[in-house]
């Protein structure tokens, strides 16, 4: 059913020809710090309109891969194509185009501490577009409510927010320009189960209404079960397995078994 939706989810922005629907492709990426190799010749494809969950043990390089894709961590070799663009070869203008079409939720939120929540959400609009102050205000409030924050949070500074509110405000900023591709680094960690479920529901809604593609680093088994179309497991410096949750339950790699069918995982059923 998901496959069928993919074509529709492009919402008119149909892609033509080969590899259609691959919004992000990572080929042969190697990242190393000094002599320590973190990722070795890693391949990964993210299809348009899907929610890809990314799991792996602590310190296996999930965040490093995300940062490498975003161009924040230098890599030794490999090619990364976002929206069919090789970011190494693109011009500054092309890169700007790409940056306008992706949104990032950092693990710690990374809100600008000297701006209010509303100003934070407006930063991408202000910098990339030429909108009227009225429209920017309304859109910022809309995004704020969309991620489940109360209106009075708009005037608050990040230091006055709780951990969960920071996550939400940061998501609102990531969504400010209605991106096609969103990177979420542990979006539900630190949220209570109800908040986490609401967050999952929000992601699912946004995917339905906006045809969002989501790349989500997470450890939340509930998110993996409820909203992820595919799950990639990072281990041994590469993508160990990639597939649906059913594939994960059937896989017999020891790490995958202990993660998806371990004591903690089974207790939730």
């Amino acid at each position: 059913m998901r496959q069928g939706m993919d074509a529709e989810d492009t919402g008119g922005r149909e892609t033509a020809g080969d590899g259609a629907g691959v919004i992000l492709s990572v080929k042969g990426v190697t990242v190393a710090f000094g002599s320590k190799v973190i990722l070795d010749n890693l391949d990964l494809d993210v299809r348009r309109g899907e929610v890809l969950g990314f799991v792996g043990g602590s310190g296996t390089g999930k965040s490093v891969l995300m940062r490498a894709i975003l161009g924040l961590t230098p890599r030794r070799s490999g090619k990364i194509e976002v929206f069919g663009h090789d970011l190494d070869r693109s011009t500054a203008a092309e890169r700007k185009m790409v940056e306008r079409r992706w949104g990032v939720l950092f693990q710690q939120g990374a809100l600008f501490s000297s701006l209010t929540v509303k100003q934070n959400i407006q930063v991408p609009m202000r910098e990339h577009l030429n909108l009227s102050p009225k429209l920017m205000d309304e859109l910022a409030m809309l995004k704020l409510e969309l991620v489940g924050l109360p209106q009075d949070a708009a005037g608050k500074f990040p230091s006055e927010l709780s951990g969960g509110m920071i996550k939400r405000a940061s998501l609102a900023r990531a969504l400010a320009l209605d991106p096609d591709l969103v990177f979420l680094d542990e979006p539900t960690s630190g949220l209570d189960p109800i908040g986490a479920a609401a967050f999952d529901q929000l992601i699912a809604n946004l995917r339905e209404t906006l045809g969002l593609t989501v790349y989500m680093v997470t450890h939340d088994l509930d998110s993996l079960h409820s909203i992820c179309d595919r799950i990639a497991v990072l281990g041994e410096k590469r993508v160990l397995v990639i597939g649906t949750i059913d594939d994960m339950m059937k896989n017999d790699h020891p790490w995958v078994v202990s993660y998806f069918r371990g004591e903690r995982a089974l207790r939730r059923i």
Partner: protein
Amino acid sequence: MAFLEKNTPPACASESDRDVLRLKLSGDWVISTAAEAEALLDGFRKGPHQGVVLDVSAIGVLDTSGAWIIHRLQGALEFGGTRVKLCGLDEKRTVLFSELEKHHPPAFKPEKSRFSIVGMLEATGRQVVAIWHDLLAMLHIFGSLGMVLFTVLVQPKRLRGISVAVQFDRSCIGAVPIVALMSFLIGAIISQQGGFYLRQFGADLYVVDLAGILVLREIGVILTAIMVAGRSGSAFTAEIGAMRMREEVDALHVIGLSVTEVLVLPRILALMLALPILTFISDMASLVGSGLVAWIYLDIPPAAFLIRLREAITMETLMVGLVKAPFMALIVGLIACVEGLKVEGSADSLGRQTTMSVVKAIFLVIVVDGLFAIFFAAIGV
């Protein structure tokens, strides 16, 4: 380039159907075209028609911002008593619009900043209160510093020797080259400028008195204190401020450690040790600088310079300068730590407090130097 195609600009065609106006929207209604879309619909007047039909079936790409602009028009028209029908929605867009309907952003209020006398008075009042609080905070830290010093005297083990040594290394040894260079240049400049005027009276040799007394009594210690305020004071504020931002100071409290003992005392002690040493180095470097210029520029050979210097200054002249140094260090260190502890959550406040720390420290260093001058004059030194 498949994914990053250009958006077609939004368009709006209207046709009149008896008393109903049909608006046929087409093009891409996304955030990158939102400015045009807004301009397009803002200029819309429904005229004499009873109802309006918004046909969105021809829209290519639609995102929340485009949908919001359409929704806003619908809301405004309905508020004015017109029947509005939205048609041509597919399943996904119905979800999008029904999602938007749940949200009501508050009416837009442009921010106004008006000049007012009351506002100015209010700001002044707030500043006065802030200065009072500052003073209290300084006294508070000063008091707790006294307490901690007392405990350290009773139990010398409580003194964090390594911490003091590390701070001393940073604020004293690291500062030697720049302080020496700066003082050398200042000494040279005093000698050159003074010599230029004194030569007119044939009083070249008095350049030695001028440089010796000026440098040893005032310039050496003041310039060093200013340099240290800029160098170490700002570092203290930034370090303690960053620790405040990351809740490290709170962690210290919870573990049961005194912030004054762990953070403030080692820094201030190190600075109070460092500043007299730096001042002495600065004095020497200035004298070398002024001696060199006197030799090259005024033809006073080093031997003559030294003989004249011994007549002009005494040990007391040097001590008058050096005695001030620990007090200056105390002021710089106290202000730096107080400002650091005042930092709140934002990067903005860290920058503001660091600025304030340096500005206040330099200002107070000069004020205290003036007080010392009055004091020394009174006791006849």
